[in-house]
Symmetry: C2
Subunit: 720 residues, 2 copies
């Protein structure tokens, strides 16, 4: 027996090692169910959890049960079996009153009424006289979400002995936007290629699709737009609808609905019509018929996402119609089926050269209240384009009669693409907590989009996905945290950046606080680091041409002024920054008071937005006491120092996690350090040609000349 | 103790299950080291193998040692540790006389002299008075190859108690050709995208690169051309050379050399010259300098692969120079560094409309003996383009003074792309065993390319890779077998298709003969099945336009006649087939006698080549007794039946392997069945318009009309 034991032990060790060689490549994301390390807690959990009881067996419940059994067994390092009936104390009982007599017997009607059709309760309770844990919801998908929440508590080693959790999402439609093309390239994608293997659909359902759906379910994401906003009408043809259906069928039990982008000129391109005029009855009929067809394949199809009249995409303007007229045509087509239209506000005129900052507001505000009930206007967090920092979009708070939804970017188009560590929760929170003052103090952007400010029932939030075929889904191991964050904030925008980071680090890596504490800190500082070495003090849009990789503050002479960098920084011998006050473009006037006043005041504008709203002299005295030029140099340099600090932090946690992911991150940080220095050196040298001042003593000299940086021409940058 | 044991057992089971959930997605290829199932054999191995002894610690030896320890421990289900010195019987002792005193002490000088600088000996021997197993070689890489051979023996449960293996490769340079573009698309690639993440090179060495190198080492592949033959000169710029160097450094310890494709017009495109004339001294100087530069990055750079004057690629013809003059310029540049040039013979004139079949021979035969010593002419297996079956290329046997190398296609451009199961060893063997009669009977193609027919020291073989970013490397699980096959045949072209399949199935799936026997049979019949449902009886080039997916026998009216299908099948009311005899293009005249006579004779030509060489009446009586039209219909139908048979075979082995890969293959077979029927129906309906005869009774009616098939237009087919 002893020999057998020894052999078995060895086998186990071998297996664990071998298993973990495969397991720790990032593929498991935050859904890792390895045996907990804390012996005391492990003992408690093992006593508290003995079996899993589901009485229903609908597909979603089967999925939830499997997750619970696998998860609990892995975490507790011992079998936690599924039982048909409750047999002992320590049962985890999950279900709805409709499918579980046990749940029904608990008298939770009042509590359940609060949680709607996606929420759940987690309770420590006596069930049939035995102490156990209850996951109760009104729907199967609520049970699934509750299941993941319970697992998260244990993954993060929290106390479950007195659970009294009531949770429901604050925003209704929590949607990923995949900028995926049908040829599997991903626009602004830095994690390989598109997950959707269209050529082998509908027959072949890649395991990856199911793991994708499961990951989304674990963070409450309930919708996915499969195709690029720069749309291809072909996806609406039968050839593709059968493939989309296959994906929708695979996703459905995970609570994940499918949406598609609608190419406005589809009636012409695939319908054979001569026009796509939204007021043309034939066009309307075509969309109605086409939409009915879509719903025959996918009865719970979510609806359309549309980019129109923007960057070459066709739209209502081609026919001298308004955005509302365009949106309403599609809205009428999906309405009978319960579908929605998400109509992007990212529109800027091909003709009038007004400040880009103002264009979406000018286009959309007059249309407030003119959209159908099932239309949301999808608004980027800021008025330019996902810069490392942007003040909130003035449309938030400007369209009270229309449900507005947020469009966040998860993929790091302007935040270091595949190679820079950037935890984006602080960016998202900064926007969500911004006060629009639309209805006085406290009119936060969060309240606009969760419907409570203007009493909208239809609410949504979108995240431009950073997911691709890379083994670890997101390219950079830490980019996973932003997918996770998006889900958590979509569910509840009140959760703090710190808490989300805490959860994610513990689930993804380890509960060991010697790792968790410094790594969280590193994450929480990472966004500001990038702002500093790319676009400090409100600078924006300084990136390389087209691919957006690396610095390009010198970019000028392009077909549109507002595609250049010089347009945005306006550097000259006097100073730098875009005057958006009344002496300039007066974009500030689109904000309510007192925001308008504060942003418009040189003294009062938060320094992080200084050069976003003001053209400021090089010798202007900033909050630090340094003149602007010097402060810029310190910010840029500080950003590089931050990355070096991150490298030291990461080195200090070597050995606390698996070698594979440790080395991956270490390598990526070294790439990031080089890129940070590149940004800093190139930008300072370029702006110096205007400031004509020296880089402050004590700060590093640039590694090369300005000419060197200007002639760099990276080839085949991913994502375009 | 019993409880502990039980828990441990459960943990182990859990771990194995969890581990195998990750392990069995095809990623491990044939390098799976799971505990052997046969108890008796396991017991014997455990007695025979107790430790691994390497005395040297060069990088390649460290890799070999790790492979051996991991492999043996896994297979034997118990720790087989690395030992610094030999301590017991059952040691596996590995090394060269130079780095291992133990090996040196064995007196193997004579035997080792036979195996050259890549071969090895595997011996059961007494070492220091203890019975053990010896892996001996002249070089570290030989030890690595011997290591994999030993592991293969155990993976396939063969007797190792009396080993006396002497193995050396019959062909010197065994090279993969990746048709990978710098934007990571793969031309004719059906397994995702390019492995090479150029954007993150040189800093980030993806684990995938190392696993790729290891897989190649396990089958003796010692070279890899990283870039597409439709070349991009940028890869020769410094920006990319540092990246190539990073890959070369990663591959080197696995014995894998790096080559690149050379764009003939590079002197103009990146060199700023006005010409790329190979006889221009400036051009020659540029190539010399560029090549010297490459060697400063990669001292053991293999050399260049060139596609020139073909399908739009620039070449010597642009300057009215010969292929030899072009090749020799590059040969002179690499010669001082020991490099080679592989110059592709796939040239066909843009102007003269002669039978494509004849053009490479007409271009290259006159140049025989005019190439530098370090040039090989790389010849596709057949004279058209990788069709499901082609007679051997007439160039084999036509250029005795020039080393010719084989170009096989592993990726299934014309053999069902990602979705069809095709084991290609029979195709490769058919070519290799073809008798050119160049020096009388027995002048096989194999002897041409292994140098023995015409006494060439420089020998090589290339396989156009089917590898990409898909998790299982090759898209279709069974496509892995062709990568494996290529390596095994490159090492020793005498190995039979059956033996290779036997090895691969056992290593990749299981030794269970209830699985092995039927699956091998399925594999061995798979190539013929595809020939039958796509291009039976010598038909060729009938595929869909551009993407080459699905049937397109009706294709005509293209810029070049020899890009159409009608050009190749020549179907008319009288009959079908391309007359390559003296009444036609007389391509047969390029073969030696008696091949020329046999191919040219309607009666004697092997029926598998009938319509390749002859235009044959619809009512011609074939070997079966059926008229040609009926025989065609039977062949096409038989091909579809074969796939259905494969489906039954596969279904019959359910449960014998992991669910994941079982279901994957099952799904792919169902796709293949649909595609086989599609090919059959479309081709028969189309040819019927000429034969004007009914499909023989008893055979299935086509599912749709000819019009239906002709208007099918698959979008975004991978690989183009």
């Amino acid at each position: 027996m002893r020999n057998k034991f020894r052999n078995l032990l060895f086998l186990l060790l071998l297996c664990l090692v071998t298993g973990s060689v495969y397991a720790e490549d990032g593929y498991r994301l935050w859904l890792r169910y390895d045996k907990l390390q804390d012996e005391a807690k492990l003992k408690n959990y093992r006593q508290a959890i003995t079996e899993v009881v589901f009485e229903g067996n609908a597909p979603t419940l089967v999925i939830a049960q499997k997750e619970l059994v696998n998860g609990l067994s892995g975490l507790l390092g011992q079998e936690v079996p599924a039982a048909q009936r409750l047999t002992q104390a320590g049962a985890v009982v999950a279900g709805t009153p409709a499918n579980s007599a046990l749940i029904k017997s608990l008298g939770l009607a009042d509590k359940l009424q609060q949680v709607g059709d996606e929420g759940y309760l987690l309770l420590s309770a006596d069930v049939s006289g035995k102490r156990g844990t209850v996951i109760a919801a009104n729907t199967d998908v609520g049970v699934l979400y509750g299941t993941f929440h319970l697992l998260r508590l244990i993954q993060t080693q929290q106390d479950i002995s007195n659970l009294a959790v009531t949770s429901m999402p604050k925003i209704q439609r929590r949607v990923l936007n995949h900028w995926d093309n049908l040829d599997r390239t991903v626009e602004r994608g830095y994690a390989g290629f598109s997950l959707w293997d269209w050529h082998k659909l509908p027959d072949y359902i890649d395991q990856r699709y199911l793991d994708y759906a499961r990951a989304n379910a674990s963070i409450g994401i309930n919708g996915t737009v499969l195709t690029n906003v720069n749309a291809n009408a072909l996806v609406l043809t039968k050839e593709y609808l059968v493939k989309v259906k296959a994906l929708a069928d695979a996703f459905r039990p995970y609570g994940l609905k499918v949406y598609l982008t609608a190419r406005f000129s589809a009636p012409i391109e695939i319908g054979g019509l001569k026009t796509a005029d939204p007021l043309d009855p034939q066009v309307q009929a075509w969309w109605k018929q086409k939409t009915d067809e879509v719903y025959t394949y996918i009865p719970d199809f979510g609806g359309y996402l549309v980019k129109a009249d923007s960057e070459g995409q066709p739209g209502p303007h081609n026919y001298k119609r308004t955005q509302a007229e365009g949106a309403n045509m599609l809205a009428d087509a999906v309405a009978p089926h319960g579908g929605i239209v998400m109509w992007r506000a990212f529109v800027y005129s091909e003709h009038t050269p007004d400040d880009r900052h103002k264009q979406a507001y000018n286009e959309f505000k007059p249309l407030d209240g003119k959209f159908r009930d099932n239309v949301l206007v999808q608004v980027k967090n800021g008025a330019i384009d996902f810069q490392p920092r942007e003040p909130f979009h003035p449309l938030f708070g400007a369209m009270p009669k229309t449900p507005l939804m947020m469009e966040f970017q998860i993929t790091q188009e302007y935040l270091g693409q595949s190679t820079n560590l950037a935890y984006l929760a602080p960016l998202y929170k900064e926007v969500l907590e911004s006060d629009t003052y639309a209805r006085g103090k406290g009119s936060t952007v969060a309240k606009v989009i969760d419907g409570t400010l203007d009493n909208h029932k239809l609410t949504a939030i979108a995240g431009v996905s950073n997911i691709g075929t890379d083994r670890n889904w997101t390219g950079h191991q830490f980019a996973q945290s932003n997918w996770y964050t998006f889900g958590r904030l979509a569910w509840d925008h009140r959760i703090s950046s710190e808490k989300i980071a805490d959860e994610w680090v513990k689930m993804t890596f380890t509960n060991n606080n010697s790792f968790v504490a410094p790594v969280k800190k590193m994450m929480l500082n990472s966004h500001e680091a990038i702002v500093n070495y790319m676009t400090p003090l409100g600078l924006h849009h300084l990136m390389g041409w087209s691919h957006h990789y690396g610095p390009g503050p010198w970019i000028k002479d392009k077909p549109r002024a507002d595609w250049t960098s010089v347009y945005y920084h306006q550097a000259d011998e006097k100073g730098i920054g875009f005057d958006r006050t009344k002496t300039g473009s007066n974009a500030v006037a689109q904000y309510h008071q007192p925001v308008q006043k504060v942003f418009g005041s040189l003294k009062r504008v938060p320094e992080k937005y200084l050069l976003w709203f003001h053209h400021v002299p090089w010798d202007y005295k900033t909050d630090s006491g340094r003149i602007l030029w010097d402060e810029l140099a310190y910010r840029y340099s500080g950003g590089v120092d931050s990355v070096r600090q991150m490298q030291q932090t990461w080195d200090s946690v070597e050995g606390m996690i698996d070698e594979g992911r440790f080395n991956h991150v270490k390598t990526f940080l070294s790439i990031q350090e080089k890129e940070a220095k590149w940004w800093r050196d190139a930008c300072l040298l370029y702006f110096q040609t205007f400031s004509k001042r020296p880089i402050p003593q004590g700060l590093e000299e640039p590694a090369h000349t300005l000419e060197y940086y200007m002639q760099l021409d990276p080839k085949f940058v991913p994502g375009i």
